[in-house]
């Protein structure tokens, strides 16, 4: 039999075993060669060799590991040759070194096997003095079973990670870790621990020191150079592709914000207290916070560190913003001056600036207006406000075109300064400006109405000779219109002041108190501004309503200018009448009669004209108001029902329809 076998096998089995062992290390042996046939590559025996097919199959099966090894090794070599470079990065390095370590174990095994293979394979009858540790192909199969599984896994990983790097690579590896086989779990755990550690180190230094130690751009946070005031909004961003799946988006957000806060404190606030806060956090979490102390599987520890650091850094940042930069005071100042919260100041400013603003825009001097602003600050309770805050309040003249009046270009401006311009960005201030202009317009209308009232108060005019039938009725008509307008303007202003500004402010105040970090604060402020804009009908969707509102204002202002003219005439007539009543006592009756008649005629003409104008204004006004009231309920996005309910409290308007 053995002769026959010898006949059959051209090659001795021990030679094959040695060859297979070489193949396992990716080396071509005497018989076993790496070949590529029809696109399928692998180790195989040459066809020319006379061997039983069982041996061939066995060899082929054993050489699978060699093929896998070649692949893994190839990847490692390729990557290592590129180190250090952008393409591999530190995570790639860690991956390679972890793979290398695994391979070292493998080499060790191969060495042992090699030594075994030196022992001769026993043959029948030669059992005396034989070493038990010889290697046959079949024994090799048992030895290599487990390493093959591991090698296969490595090959899969290598295939999966070939083009990835950094966080994306960690994520890809992590996806492969979800396996129920304890062997695989062990292996992956070991590997991930190594691979994650550079990433975790980046997280650590970002969270505790605000440093982006990421020269190969592997981290899921990316920084970009920007201007100081937009550091918070645009300075850094999260790169979702680099975010491994085991870091949840909320945790990532928190990591992101903490480092950003540190940078913000450092760059914008020129603050160094954060270091103490970070050290505090690190001390609180304890052991695993030293450099390179974090690994995969300690995601809890990482999370604890991040949460702790975030808490402290955020609270420190809020502290700085509130205490050092007095965010709340600035908000309040903006509300008082730009949103017309300080009534006496606004009233006084309107009083003294009003005449000036009626001039054409190009003749107005900004310096003079600044002086007037200063005067109105001194004259009102605003003078008791902090000088630092008052200094930030300035007059701003907007660009004007032909025919613009001062009213169109005047506005106030508030400069909160560094670092609060992160909150009060140019865009935000522009929106404030828009609100201010709107409120200022409303105030102006209200002011105009009050001025008319002053001139047309009945007790200014009675006891006059011209107080005749016609006049009484026309005056009454005037009063009615005035009342109607006043009702509208008062209620609308009440709505804006109390339902919009105060309510939004109260809400904002609560949110400001409860906000834990700058993002919260920003979004609270954004909501505050948004709610004011929407509710006071400045939003996109209420543009038609706003247009009709401005129409109403237009009518009211026209009424004012007409009324001014009428009453000027009336006072003129009145004073003339008075002047003429003196000569009456000196009994110059004739002339008086004549003059009286002329005056009556004049007055009659005036009243006639006035009546016509009044009718026109009343008609325009009620038209505009109708439109406005009809449009009110259409504004689904704002709760205007209450305003409607106030305007139409007695159901006068809804009945009139």
């Amino acid at each position: 039999y053995s002769v026959l076998v010898m006949d059959d096998n051209e090659v001795e089995e021990s030679a094959l075993v040695r060859d297979v062992l070489y193949a396992c290390q990716g080396i071509d042996g005497r018989y076993v060669n790496y070949r590529s046939v029809n696109g399928v590559d692998g180790y195989d025996l040459p066809d020319s060799l006379t061997l039983p097919r069982s041996t061939r199959t066995m060899v082929r099966k054993l050489c699978e590991i060699g093929w896998l090894y070649k692949k893994v090794k190839g990847f490692i070599d390729e990557s290592t040759s590129k180190i250090p470079s952008e393409e591999v990065g530190t995570v790639g390095q860690a991956f390679c070194s972890a793979l290398n370590d695994e391979l070292t174990d493998y080499y060790k095994l191969l060495a042992v096997l090699e030594s075994h293979s030196m022992n001769p394979i026993p043959t029948p009858g030669s059992d005396s003095g034989l070493h038990g540790n010889y290697l046959s192909l079949r024994r090799l199969d048992v030895w290599l079973a487990e390493p093959t599984v591991r090698m296969r896994l490595m090959a899969v990983l290598v295939d999966g990670c070939r083009v990835l790097k950094g966080g994306a690579m960690v994520g890809a590896i992590h996806r492969h870790a979800k396996h129920g086989d304890p062997l695989v779990q062990d292996f992956m755990g070991r590997l991930l621990k190594r691979v994650c550690s550079p990433l975790f180190e980046m997280v650590r230094s970002w969270v505790l020191e605000g440093e982006l130690e990421d020269i190969f751009s592997e981290f899921f946070i990316v920084g970009q150079p920007v201007k100081v005031e937009s550091l918070w909004q645009e300075g850094y961003r999260i790169e979702p592709a680099m975010l491994p799946s085991f870091i949840s988006p909320t945790l990532a957000q928190r990591i992101f914000r903490t480092g950003k806060s540190i940078n913000f404190l450092r760059v914008c606030c020129d603050d160094s207290g954060w270091a103490a806060a970070a050290a505090d956090a690190a001390a609180h979490v304890g052991t695993s916070t030293s450099r390179w102390g974090l690994g995969y599987g300690q995601i809890d520890a990482l999370e604890a560190l991040v949460i702790e650091a975030a808490k402290r850094i955020d609270s420190h940042l809020m502290d700085v913003i509130h205490k050092r930069y007095r965010f709340k005071d600035h908000c309040l100042a903006i509300k008082r001056y730009l949103l017309l919260g300080q009534g006496d100041f606004v009233q006084y400013l309107m009083d003294i600036v009003g005449p000036e603003l009626s001039e054409p825009a190009n003749t107005i001097s900004a310096f003079q207006l600044a002086g007037l602003l200063e005067a109105s600050i001194r004259a009102s309770n605003a003078q008791y406000d902090d000088r630092d805050i008052l200094d930030r309040l300035k007059v701003k003249m907007m660009d004007y075109s032909d025919g613009d009046r001062g009213w169109d270009v005047f506005s106030l401006e508030y400069d909160a300064g560094m670092p609060l311009d992160t909150v009060f960005t140019a865009l935000v201030m522009k929106r404030y400006l828009k609100i201010f202009n709107y409120l200022w317009k409303l105030k102006r209308v209200e002011h105009a109405l009050t001025t008319i009232w002053k001139t047309m108060k009945p007790n200014c005019i009675v006891k006059s000779i011209i107080a005749k039938e016609g006049f009484v009725s026309i005056l009454r008509k005037c009063q009615v219109i005035w009342n109607e307008m006043n009702h509208f303007v008062t209620n609308f202003q009440d709505y804006i002041m109390f339902e919009v500004l105060e309510v939004s402010w109260a809400q904002f105040y609560d949110e400001m108190e409860s906000s834990k970090d700058l993002d919260d604060l920003l979004s609270a402020h954004e909501r505050y501004l948004e709610s004011i804009v929407e509710k006071s009908l400045l939003g996109e969707r209420s543009s038609t309503l706003r247009a009709s509102l401005f129409g109403l204002f237009e009518v009211i202002l026209r009424f004012r200018s007409h009324a001014d003219r009428w009453f000027e005439r009336i006072y003129e007539l009145q004073s003339r009448g008075k002047a003429e009543s003196k000569p009456k006592s000196k009994e110059i009756g004739q002339r008086l009669e004549g003059a009286g008649k002329a005056m009556t005629q004049l007055a009659g003409e005036l009243f006639h004209k006035m009546g016509e104008d009044l009718d026109q204004i009343a008609k325009d006004y009620s038209n505009s108001l109708d439109i406005f009231i009809k449009q009110l309920p259409l504004q689904q996005h704002v709760d205007l029902k209450f305003l409607f309910f106030r305007l139409d409290f007695t159901e006068y308007y809804s009945c009139r329809k």
Binding site: Y1, L4, V5, D8, D47, T50, L51, P52, R53, S54, R56, T57, M58, K61, I121, P122, T123, P124, G125, S126, D127, G132, S136, R138, R139, D141, V142, A145, E146, V149, H176, K178, H179, G180, D181, P182, L183, V184, K641, F642, F645
Partner: protein, 679 residues
Amino acid sequence: KSSQMAQASKPLYQYDLSSRGNEKDIASFAVSVQEPFLIEDLLYALVGIEGRYISIKRIRGKDGYVVFQIDTSMDLALQELTSRIFPLCEGYVLVNHFVESRSHFKNGFVNHALAAAIRAFLLDYQAMVAQLEHQFRLGKLSSQGLWFFCQRMMSSMNALAVLVEKAITDNVSGSATLNLLESQVKAMAGDNAVRSLLERMTECASAAYFKILERWVYEGVIDDPYGEFFISENKSLQKESLTEDYDAKYWEHRYKLKDGVPSFLRSVSHTILTTGKYLNVMRECGHHVQVPVSENSKLTSFGPNHEYLERIKAAYDFASGELLTLIKNKYDLIGKLRSLKRYLLVDQGDFLVHFMDIAREELSKSPKEVSAEKLQSLLDLALRMTAAASDPCHEELTCCVEKVSLQKTLATLKDLPGPVSGGNDAAIEDPELAEPLNITGLETFSLSYKVQWPLSLVISRKALTKYQMIFRLLFHCKHVSRQLCTAWQLHQGFRACKILGTPISRSSILCRSMLKFIDSLLHYLTFEVLEPNWHMMHDRLLTAKSIDEVIEFHDLFLHKCLKECLLLMPQLLKKVEKLKALCLRYATSIQVLIPSMNMLPERDAKLATTARIKQSQLKEQQLKLALENTVISDSIMKFENEFNVELQSLVPILSRNNSQSEPYLTHLAQCILGIRADQ
């Protein structure tokens, strides 16, 4: 002859001709030479590799299934022996195929773990084969010896092959795999070695499953990338739906048991489900809780002593206790329920009376015209001006105006259990449910209450709707009662004059009996139904063990209240509504009629005091008055008759139900009908 057979069987080997060429015909050797050849081939065959004279034929369409064949020219006795060993080889190939294929990622944790366990077994097996080879190389292995050594593996491999075959045909994963293992263990219980092998497999496979289970039971997290766990999460159900949707299914369907619970967990599957659910509720509240796990209470130990059941129970107790304390203490469930009772069950009288005073005008409009904003501001006013202002919960109260009457709303809520569901009744009622034309805000007004998560678990939209039903009934009763009181006040204006024989006296008696009816009804509703039931619920809540129990008690309370408030008996409710409508009609007509006839008696009174002489004149006038008032008196008579008839018609209904063991109706009969019930 044998060479002929060899020729015939040749095509079988054709697919690997490359090495076939230089093999010699086995028949040409002596049996003693055939044997070592055969043994070597068999040793290869045992690890699934073809040899010189043994070939493998794959069965088409079935991966992993192979048939071993031996050269038919071999010695017949050897052939026979070999074919006995073939099942082992075939089993190996099949099992190995399973291990290779199930280690792929997509097959799930349980399959991975099972494959790993089987791989360990196969390694043992391969080691055995290597051992045999050693013997063979020493020339000590005969074919008989081979057969003997294989025996040890035979039954185990066979059992595994059976298992794997079933697993492959059913393509099981997750808990199905575990169940299969479990049933195989039971089926193989007779063979000790096989049973312990399968038990080991089960243990390894379930370890992976226990890891998923552990996270769910201890943290409330489903970490199940391959969908193996028996609890599924429906992310589309949002917790906000609880406060908006009447038919919200959040609590029941957010986490659900799937089919295929592993049989060893079947008895505790609900406990497991609720444990994780509770943990999740707490997490949604931003309250991070983890069941404290010590090293020795890890769930991974699966054993016959059912220790894991104890641990699951412990986790459940912890979670439910923690959640209950959270909801009771931090979110103040009892306080919220009390405040619901205060407002929606009309416990706090002064606020309601004040509100009815100021909102009367708005509420008497039709529901379409009522402005909810105005009512809301009036409600706020009423809340701030009365004792309710000191209640911290009063901010949560809002109001709403429904569009349809109470009866109709009840009919549309299909899932309310009660006699409504009887097909006959419903058919009769439908046409009658046509909307009363003059429905006002008074009938449709109702309070509402803002409920925050997680209290919305208990006070869901559904529960709140039930509260609102009761509120609307009470509110309307209260309204009727107030109207009758006004009528009664008008009657008091006549105290000074003689009213005997006038319609006034008749009317005042009617007014009183109506008042008695409505007040008795209110008394019944509040003191006989709501108060005792609420207190009962309150006491039971204090002893509740879990949030599910709390929900159950609360729902039970609401259901009982609805039932005892007659809201589930449309027949009775209709009668009561009719009576109320009658009372209301009477009250309004009296308020119109009495002022109109006020003039005469007043003058009479004056006359009577000033001039006694004009007695005759007075009598005359009184006669006239009586004549004028016949119209009024007629209408009052009509009211009286109608009222009495309706009231009497209640008697049979109440007494009929009485026999149907519904004792609360006896209370009602006593309250409303008073002595008449005793007669």
